[in-house]
Every structure is written in C-alpha cells, then in structure tokens.
Symmetry: C2
Subunit: 499 residues, 2 copies
C-alpha cells in the first residue's frame, strides 16, 4: 500500500503498525519453534529473547506520540476501511496503555509460577497446595479487571472478556447461555438414550505416527490448507501459530487412537485457513486481524464439527482411513460417523463431545464471573464445581480436583473471561451453516458429493476476508442476517443427534 | 553476570550488548527456519521481517551515545577479560559505523539481484549475461573497501578480509599461500601416482534418507554434539546456524551417495561444537564470539579432515555403516579410509578433496585481491581463471564458465576477502593437531581406540572457551606455541597421503 497517498497522521500510524507486524513475525516464529523444535537447553535464552521482544513491542505500542497521532488521524479524510482500521488502532493502543507495566509483569510472573507448580499439583490432586498460588493470580486478575473497567466503563468481568471477544457482554452471554442451559441437560439425556440402542465398532490399532501424519496431511488438503503458506509439525499441546503468510499448525499422535490427532488437525486447519485468508492487502494493519477468539473458534469448529462430523464427511474420510491404515470394518463410513458423534458425559472439557462440551463452558463462565465480580472466593470453587457438574452432566466430582476444578490451566495462569469464546464459537459455527443452507439449499448434497468449496467460499467471503473491518455484531449480521442466535446451535444438535 | 559491580560506562555497554544478543537470537532462529522449514509463500514476509530487524540492530549498534560510552569505559578500572571485551565492543562499533547506510543497502540490493540472476545464468553458462551484474557488485565492493580502508588504515583488500579474519593481512596470506603454492602441485602429482596403483571399492546403494539421517545423528553423537542444545535438520545448502544455546545444523541427502551428507554433517558438527562451547558466562558479549571465520573453519576441518579422514576414524565409521545400511565389502575400514582420501583434481571447489582444495582457494585469492586493488577488471577474470587452473591443477576450463569462474556465489553477492579463510582454516587445523601430538604423544593410538575426548578437550580449552578473548595471533601462539605455520599442513598431507 502506498502510504504517500494517505493523510499524514494516518500514514505515520500505518507505518508504525507495519513495523510492529514485522517484528511480531519474528516473535511468532520463535514461539512456534519453542513448542515444535526447541531442545531443552535452548529455553532460557529463548525466554530472555522473547521477553526482550515483548518489552520492545510494548514500548513501540505505547510511545507517547501515538495519542496525538490517533487524535489527528480522526480529523483526516479517511475512507471507510481506513476509518475501521483507525478504530482498531485505537483499540490496540487502549489495550496496550490500559495496564501499568508493573501489574503486567507481576501477573505474568505469578501466572508462570502458578502454572509451573500446577503441573505437579494437578497430578497429585493437591488443591490445598494449589490454592494459595491461585489466590495470588486471581487477586492480580481482579486488579487487572479494575484497571480495564476504569478505562472502558465496562463491568469488571466484561472488561476482561472484552480482551478476547471485543464487544461481547455478559448480559449477552447470559441470554444465550441461559437459553442453552434450559434445554441442554434434557437433550443430552435424549441423545444418550438413543445412542444406547446403537452399536459402534472400535477401530483396531495400533496406528503408526507416520501413517497418522500422512492421513493428517491428506485431511488438511481436503480442507483446503495452503501448504505453500504453512506447515504441520508436532508439539506437546496442539496449536495454530506462525504468521498469516506462513501458518504453523501442530498436532500430537497417540498410537492407540488416531481420532484425536485427525480431528485435532481438522480443527486447527479451520484456524489456519482463517489466518491464511485474512485480507492480504491489509496484513500488518489492525483491520486485518482475526475478529475475536470466539470468531476464530467458530472457524475451527466449522471445520471440526459442522463439516468434520457431518454424516457425509465420514464418506470422504472412510477411503483415506482404508488407504493409510489398511481396510477394516470400523472404517465403513456409517461407523466412522458413529465414532465421531458418540456422546458421553465426562469430567474433562478437552475430551468432551460436541453435545456435552457447552456444559463445561457454562459451569466455568458462571464460576469465573462470580470470582471476578467478588461474589465468591477461590476457596468456594470446588463446592460450586461439584454442584454444577451434578446439575449439568449428572457427574459426581467431589474430592476429584485433578479432573475437576484443577483440570484447566486458564485460571492458574490468569486467563479469565476466555472460556465463553469456546461455546460462542460453536454457536456462531452453527449460525454460519444455517445461513449457508438458506443461501445454498443443496449444501448437504454438495458436501455429500465431496464438494466442500461452497463452504470454504462462504467462510472466506463472509468471515476470513472481513477480518476486523466490522465490529462483531455487525460482522455477524452481515454474514448471517441476524444477531447471535442460539436456536441454530440447538437445531444443529437436534438434527444431528436426534434427527 | 551482575552489572551492578561493573564500572558504569562499561556496565551500560554490557547491558546494550546483552540486548543485541537477545534480539539477534530471534533473527538467527528465523534465518535458520527460512532455510530449513519455510514454505515458498512465507518468503516475502520473512524477508521484510528480517530486514526490519537488521535495521533495528544496526540502529542500536550505531547509537550516538556509544562512542562516549566506549571512551569513558577505557578510563574505568577493568579486569583483563573486561578489557578484552571492551576491545571487541569497539571493533563491533567500528564495523557498524564504518559504512554509510546507503552503501550497505545498495550493495545488499545489487548482491541479491546478481545472485538471483546468477542461478539461471550459471546453469546456462551465460558469462555475458552475468558480467554487468557482477561489475555493479564489484564496483560497490570497491567502494566498501575504500571506506573500510579509510577507517582502518589498511589496504583495500586487507580491509575487506579483516571483516572475516580480524588481524589477518594479505602479506601474511602471501607468505603462507606462497609456501603452499611452491609444493602443492608436485604433491598432488605424487599422490595421484601413488593412488593410481590402489583400488577402492565403491559402496553399492541406494541409501535411504531415513538411514542416512540415523547415521548422521550417530556420527554427531560420536563427535560429542549436545542434542539438548541443538538439532539436525535438512536444507538445500547445509550450514550451521541458530544460537550458541541452541545450535541448528542442516544437511542434505543424495540417495546415490551417503558420503557428502555424512562428511558434511561431521564438518558442521565442528562448527556446532565451537558454538555450543563458547564461554557460557560471557554469552551476549563480544568476547564470547567465535574468533574468526578461519578459526571457525579450523574447527569444522578438525572434525571432518583431521579426525574424520584419519585412518583410525574409518574403524569407528565402519560398524555404523554396516548397522545403518547393512554390511557390504566397501564398508571394511581400510576401504572406507580409501573412499575418504581419494584425490582427484576437479573443477568444482565444494566437491574438492583435502589435497586439491587449497589450489581452488589460492586461485580465488589471487584474482579477488587484484580485482579489489584495481589491477584487473571483471572482464579479465575468465582468462586468469583458465591460466591458474591449468597451472595449479592441470585442468582446461576454457569456455566452461559454469564450472569455472561462475561456480561460486561469493563474488556475485559481494563477498570478497572471505575465500582465504577456508585454507587458513585447514592450516590452523593441521597446526592444532601437531600441537596436540606434541602434548599427547599417544594421540593417534587414543583415536584408534575410539577415545576422541582428548581431541575435544584440547579444542575446548584452547579454542572454544577462548572465543575472542585474544586477537588471533595471540590465540594461535597460546594454543600451539608458534604463529601460523604452513609446515604443519604440508606435513599432514605428506604423512596422510604419501606416508
């Protein structure tokens, strides 16, 4: 983009964001490498290098000149996209300036310490050991919430959530999760009753890493991943990192079960394609950023759940499984679909199926909001957890901290207000597919014929290329013709699991 | 290191170099990734990110405050290591400030363009197409040499060479290469006559990449590489990159011949161990840097040639070859040694054996010096090349630019004054082993018994841990008791090839 044609304050801001983009590129690749490649003794130097870069980026994002530039650019003649970009520049600037450096550092330190100790404490089911560390992190998260609430005028919990899901408010989450809460437990019971009468054949393994990797690469090709602009590697915790021009996805392999890696890879491919298809001419500018964590999750879940667990998709997977592992009866398409849609209430969120997953999120949302708003203390978490698990999924977790309130790392490392994004993502994904079906009534037949392009084209035009051009409510309305509507998620689950 | 105990100007310099070290870390890892992992479409964004970081590092290294800090630190009470570090800080500062930014950028651009076109032109044997690009690069290299000569008081060629081999002067190169030139052609003839009477069995392949990689990793273990502080990957052009705390070596595989990858891997392991064993408590400071390109090459050649082609080393390789490729007669130890020491004058430098290699370097040194000093022009290169190839190796290269003066990328991308380092490295390596044998008369027996530790310990104490504490002549004297002495290289070749 030619910055000489831009008004001067805006052009200067544009240049500075481009610079941040270039430097962030190196940080992102080094972070991916840290998880995917780095040997043990490299960690100290890498951590110091990343911290140095983090400090430098924060310094560049908070330079005093920026405020005047942002104000001056408001007065300049900008087109609609430039104005949207300026709105996002201000959001980035506000977020960078909202917190005192000491609080950011103290929270990062307390979070690292708590997470480090948590690894052992979780294994040992040691809630008592964990509690003081968690209290310290939550104390700092409450301070963070106070600062952010002051700077945004939002409630404390909303101010935290706004970092991950800009514009989302807990009143809205209450509305959609309240709806969900009203029908989910009964739906789970009905699905369980129906599935009790069905049999699904277990695949017979083991499944070599080499074959699983080849299968995963084929699945990525099927899902349209651009291998000239990204890679698949291995890491302990799968993620999608790198940069939009060079997306670095990771997975991990279990030789006794290929499904977690396969479906995890399809999930990350959704994140990956969103990144690969952010508007190219805007890369480096805030307008090009993915809209939110919930929107990002709506892409990975569009891939993993809406498409990946679609009955017709099993027909595409079946020949790939026969090819990579050798044919066996469990790989028959109907059985593959059965494997991918079994519903089993369980203790662990990350292992949960599509139907019971939202229960795990509702529980966490209700607890973390009360925690941040000061209605409960960390000590109250286990009892609340037990009560809600019994109510939502009928499971007894008393005394089982390991698989209960200590299972996730989020709170321990200071990430509060993030959990709703997972289920908001699932709802958005269902809403996208409902909109697609209205626009393309033969969509399911197309998927059945192995033609996934209409799905990808719709997501590309309506989500990927829109990036952060619009705030979320407008993006959602433009894409689907209505605000966030949990009825689509309900209809999706009913149709797939009880239809 | 506690900077509070340091005098203040020195402490400030120390802190700034530590910062450069952290930021350079990210650049080094991204550069390694660019060669080892990056897909095609990632290149533009990566290049921009690296250029941004290059500019930032240059800006930090030339901040106006540095001059006063360096001068003030000279007056502070420093211990011997701190004073050596200050000397190296000044060298870095002088190098960073010697050239106008526009020249650096123009040369980088012209070099990139010339190199890019060279890839096709070399294939097409197109000297006429290449010549105008080369003229432009050499014009800029001459300007660079003028600036560096002005700032250092050296001759133009010496000023260029000083960037890679600090302290080395062409008078010294003349002395040692002149000696070499006097006996090398006759030695080559004698070795060729001797080897004409010997038969060496060719290994029967192909050799799978998987088996070659496993063999390479075993060889690296044998050579003491620390896999907790480094990795082996693949790239089109093998190199040793990364950071001292996390060394990233690469190799490439040919399925018809395992020797280039195996010996290349052993070569890079020499570079890698030097990097892994630079003084830990000084990392980030100029004192900890590898002393020079020639010294670096002396380590890779100590590994590849002095050790790797040692008759006793073949006995260590032989069982590894049998293990990874299956036993065959060519893997018998004596035959392996024969394979590793065959002498064949050829056109291509990078394919040359240990005996004919220096002829390729002498030729390049003589031409590039005359070019920089203005005694010849680019147009004169082919005729000079042909004459010297005939004189030194008895080979006719007339009209064959592809395998003649267009074979290397160095001049085309503006690297002039570097070539001598390769043969200086070979001479230093021979000198180290002569010193080791004086200190440990049973060295060859130890190597024969598979005990390589005495070699590694000697290199670690005398070279690796010394880093840039001393200037090269003093380092060489301290390590080997005498200045650079080509007699050791001659004795080594005579003993190995005619003994």
């Amino acid at each position: 983009m030619n910055t000489q044609a831009m008004p001067s304050a805006y052009a200067e801001l544009h240049k500075r964001h481009q610079r941040l983009h270039h430097l962030t590129h190196l940080k992102s690749i080094a972070e991916w490498d840290q998880s995917a490649n780095m040997p043990a003794k490299g960690n100290e130097a890498r951590s110091l290098a990343l911290a140095e870069m983090g400090g430098l980026l924060h310094q560049l994002a908070t330079e005093p000149a920026l405020k005047a530039l942002l104000d001056a650019a408001e007065q300049e003649p900008l087109d609609a996209d430039q104005r949207a970009n300026l709105r996002e520049m201000r959001r980035v600037w506000r977020a960078s300036n909202a917190l005192p450096q000491e609080l950011v550092e103290a929270k990062s330190l307390a979070g690292s310490r708590c997470e480090h100790a948590w690894r052992g404490q979780r294994q040992a089911n040691d809630w008592t050991g964990y509690l003081p560390n968690l209290r310290e992190v939550i104390k700092l998260a409450r301070e963070e919430a106070n600062y952010l609430a002051d700077s945004t005028g939002l409630s404390r919990y909303d101010a935290l959530m706004d970092q991950y899901e800009p514009g989302m408010r807990s009143a809205e989450v209450d509305r959609v999760f309240g709806d969900l809460r009203s029908w989910l437990p009964a739906l789970i019971q009905n699905v369980r009753a129906k599935q009790a009468t069905e049999t699904v054949r277990e695949p017979v393994g083991s499944f070599s890493k080499t074959a699983q990797r080849a299968l995963g690469l084929d699945a990525m090709r099927l899902m349209g991943f651009d291998f000239e602009a990204g890679r698949l590697d291995e890491s302990a915790h799968p993620f999608c990192g790198g940069v939009p021009e060079d997306v670095r996805m990771t997975t991990r392999y279990r030789e006794d079960n290929f499904l977690p890696s396969l479906m995890g890879t399809i999930h990350e491919t959704g994140h990956g394609r969103y990144e690969q298809n952010r508007p190219r001419e805007w890369l480096g500018q805030p307008l090009s950023e993915a809209r939110s964590m919930g929107l990002h999750e709506s892409q990975s879940l569009s891939f993993e759940m809406q498409l990946g667990s679609h009955p017709a998709f099993a027909k595409l997977l079946s020949p790939l499984l026969n090819q990579h592992f050798g044919a066996q009866p469990a790989f028959e398409a109907g059985n593959v679909h059965g494997l991918l849609t079994r519903v089993n209430p369980g203790l662990i969120r990350v292992d949960a199926d599509e139907v019971t997953y939202p229960a795990h999120i509702i529980l966490r949302f209700e607890i973390e909001r009360a925690l941040i708003e000061g209605q409960i203390e960390c000590d109250d978490i286990p009892a609340l957890w037990d009560a809600k698990m019994m109510e939502l999924l009928g499971l007894d977790t008393r005394g089982n901290f390991k698989d209960g309130c200590m299972q996730d790392v989020h709170w321990g490392c200071g990430l509060v207000g993030y959990f709703p994004c997972y289920t908001l993502g699932a709802m958005y994904a269902a809403q996208w597919f409902a909109a697609m079906r209205r626009a393309m009534p033969d969509l399911d037949a197309q998927i059945g014929a192995g033609n996934l392009a209409p799905v990808f084209d719709w997501l590309k035009q309506n989500i990927w290329l829109q990036a952060s051009r619009y705030e979320t409510p407008e993006l959602v309305r433009r894409a689907s013709g209505e605000p966030l509507n949990p009825a689509h998620f309900k209809a999706h689950l009913q149709s797939r699991y009880l239809g």
